[in-house]
């Protein structure tokens, strides 16, 4: 039982291996499938994908509102609608991918097909000359809608198979965890690549944001698809899934039936306010400190702090359960943001002081990036314990939907808050116009950066207060599941030991054996019925 309690602190609990001899089962479970090039090219693809999304999520709002002067309210509406549309695409794309059968596999064809259009659309969205050639704002808005929606569709067509690739690259769970972990770290670095390029181009172009955005979009839009296509070429799909794929409707039903997961999703939807902090950096450095080049000093340490948070999250989880850690990290983040706001108000207006304090505020963001995913796995165990079903696909596609809706809500509310505080947009008929913002607007910008997310973040704690999967409850669930899995493993061991030969993968053998057992049972039943009828 102690073993089971321990297991909730780490990764997903794995069925205990039988303590007898090292059987063929052990050999298959420990067999290494992934080669160096799998790790290298998959990580490069993740790096590229994160670079594209980092560029668009971090800079497109500013590019639309400041560089090409599209009204902030129009941009906000478009972001909200397209993010919801984009989020709904995920489960649909998941179903499409799961139903695909080609000689290249089911994931890779989409990477080959969608990566290049995705890169081209990224470049087009950041081309100022296209917008300046348009006579009216309506034309700019229409162009923005079309290109961004197409970009979203292509992004989903790349993102879903790319995220699913590790699951089919190797049946070995340790290998999967390793490739995901390495690629996530490279992905985090990829997200910041736009910032590094921006800083470089701002220096070269003498703080010309419009041209700097165009240049970094060109580099990321060209190199990104190259890396993604290379990833698709070199990472092999080695596993054919045998499980039934639920349809989209079933997915939404599951959301409402699994109350603990619903609470988690609700809470996570409300965490979008904390994304204001990183999204507002560009406004803070440009309009409050009047130095665009400070952006890297505000963003990079924040990213490093967030990575520290990601690294310490598993250790902190050993000291407190996910629920408490979520609440603790949220309060830490809010308190630190509130402190920055008050320090600024009482006269601590030096940029270095704000940047230093922001480092402390960003550590819990890393924790909050990891914990909901671990909580999602807890809800999976809870559901399995309750119903016997395990729905990873639905769970993570809904987590992805949540993330996109959150992102849309963030952009939408941020745009409207900027309007609320009277943000003066650049005049569309002047090149590189940077209007001086009023003191009221500057106050508003700093409030959106600090005190507003500090207060609103706390709302995300409310659904979590009703979340029941605390340490003790999870220990009980994990205990029951471990016993169940141990029994299952022993049952399967008998089948596998007798049948496994050569290179056949363990999952196909198990599925085939289960199918044969079911078939034999059906045949026996049918035979019994026939005999019964014959007697009558």
């Amino acid at each position: 039982m102690e073993e089971n309690v321990q297991s909730i602190d780490g990764a997903m609990p794995i069925a205990e291996e039988p303590s007898t001899d090292q059987s063929a089962n052990d050999d298959l479970a420990n067999k290494k499938y992934l080669k160096k090039k799998d790790y290298i090219f998959f990580s490069l693809a993740q790096f590229a994908s994160s670079a594209v999304t980092g560029l668009v999520q971090g800079y497109l709002l500013y590019f639309y509102t400041v560089c090409v002067s599209i009204p902030a309210a129009a941009v906000g509406t478009m972001f909200l609608v397209s993010k919801i549309f984009d989020g709904l695409n995920d489960p649909i794309m998941g179903v499409i991918v799961d139903r695909t059968r080609t000689k290249w596999g089911k994931m890779r064809p989409y990477l080959f097909g969608a990566a290049i259009p995705w890169g081209i659309l990224t470049i087009i969205m950041f081309m100022p000359s296209i917008y300046s050639s348009m006579a009216s704002n309506a034309a700019k808005i229409a162009f923005m809608w079309i290109t961004y929606l197409l970009y979203s569709v292509m992004g989903t067509a790349v993102g879903v198979p790319l995220n699913g690739l590790p699951a089919v690259a190797s049946p070995n769970t340790d290998e999967r965890a390793k490739i995901i972990s390495i690629s996530r770290i490279l992905g985090s670095i990829g997200e910041q690549s736009a910032l590094v390029l921006l800083t470089l181009f701002l220096l070269i172009t003498n703080d010309n944001y419009t041209n700097s955005y165009m240049l970094m979009a060109l580099i990321i839009g060209i190199l990104g698809p190259v890396f993604m296509v290379l990833g698709a070429k070199f990472v092999k799909e080695r596993l054919e899934p045998t499980e039934r794929t639920p349809n989209v409707l079933e997915g939404f039903k599951y959301l409402f039936r699994n109350k603990q997961f619903l609470l988690l999703i609700c809470s996570n939807l409300l965490t979008f306010f904390r994304n204001f902090v990183s999204a507002m950096i560009i406004y803070v450095v440009s309009y409050i400190f009047s130095r665009g080049s400070l952006q890297i000093i505000f963003s990079l340490p924040g990213a490093v702090a967030s990575m520290i948070g990601m690294m310490i999250a598993p250790k902190l989880r050993k000291k407190m359960d996910s629920k408490r850690l979520f609440i603790f990290a949220t309060i830490w983040h809010s308190a630190a943001l509130a402190l920055i706001f008050f320090v600024y108000i009482i006269g601590g207006t030096a940029w270095w002081l704000v940047a230093a304090l922001m480092f402390i505020a960003m550590i819990p963001v890393g924790i909050l990036n990891v914990i909901p995913h671990l909580m999602a796995t807890d809800t999976l165990d809870y559901w399995e314990d309750k119903t016997g079903d395990r729905c990873e696909g639905i769970t993570f596609s809904l987590m992805s939907l949540r993330s996109k809706v959150s992102s849309g809500l963030k952009d939408y509310t941020m745009s409207y808050l900027l309007v609320f505080f009277g943000f003066s947009q650049a005049l569309p008929f002047l090149n590189d116009h940077t209007p001086v913002q009023s003191d009221f607007t500057k106050f508003g910008i700093f409030a959106i950066y600090t005190i507003i997310p500090a207060i609103l973040n706390l709302i995300s704690i409310v659904p979590i207060l009703f979340y029941k999967l605390s340490g003790k409850k999870m220990a009980e669930i994990q205990g029951r599941l471990s016993i169940k899995r141990l029994e299952e493993a022993k049952r399967l061991e008998g089948i596998i030991d007798a049948e496994v030969k050569g290179e056949t993968d363990i999952y196909s053998v198990v599925a085939e054996k289960e199918y044969e057992a079911e078939l034999a049972e059906e045949q026996a039943t049918a035979k019994a019925i026939v005999e019964e009828e014959g007697k009558e």
């Binding site: 400190f289 009277g422 001086v436």
Partner: protein, 334 residues
Amino acid sequence: MKKKIFAITSIMLIIVSLCSLFVACKSAEEKEKDYYETNALAIESATDTLSSLTDEVFSKAWTSSFVLAMTYYKTDSEKIYSDGTTEKYSNGSVYGSSIKRGSTTEAGWPVKEVKPDNADYTIKNSTDQYVYFMAFDVDFKSLDNYTVKTTLFNDVKRSDYINKISKKNYREKFEIAKEFEYTVKDGVASGELNQGINPIYVIKMSTDKETIRETGIAASDNFRIYTHFMRIESRTVFGANNALITKEVNDESGKIYWQNYGDDITYDWNNVYSMNNNRLTVLYSKGKNKINSLEIYNESILSYYTKNNNVDKSLVLKADVIAFTEMVVEFKYA
């Protein structure tokens, strides 16, 4: 049930289509007329509110300390002779910008490097923003009784200004050029103001409803009125010889100064020589009918000839903000 839903959906679609058709049928001229009429009504209502609020300000006693900052471009030049000797000088002040319109043969924005024909020197120019600024300490009792203390500072680069001005002890961070004191007692003025700049007069003029209506309606296309605070944005446009171009002038001349309106407006810089954008932001307590703070911002835009690019060095017309003025007044009522 399905039939009912189908019928309701069809009716709604027909209504939406008819509404869209009605909107689309409105001519471009009608839409433009509506736009200006709506703006005129909005500005009338806003300036009425503003007028009542400013009347309140000048009927009460208050104190305030604030800064008036005027940002302009200064050109720093270095003349380098062929024998290696150099000579440095600068050009431009708050009252005489170093940025001119220029002509099709002469750049208005100083060219980075100039080598005159038959000269034994090269001139290297760099332009930077400088701030001419002064702090006011106002003790206001009524329009007939008030004191204005002015502290004029030496001009600084805008980057330095930004770094220091937000600090509480900013006065100690800059060099003071001169101090002035001006008093109005029982309607009789004594003392001195810097360059005659009286902040009370600046506030009165900036919030005067007739002035805003006249200059605003003259050429503005950009009124914005907010609900939770008041912001009035207006624009005045000038042609050759500093002639004010009103909407009527633009219409009569066949729209040679600007096309379209609102966010879609475009200007012809061959005919528009300069423009002023004014922005007044008023934060006030609705219930108490009291202005808490007032922000005045004005930017001057000039159209000028400049080098096309490093490859194509022919001159092209461009427009930029060449100067701007900021003043934020927070009232502390007695």
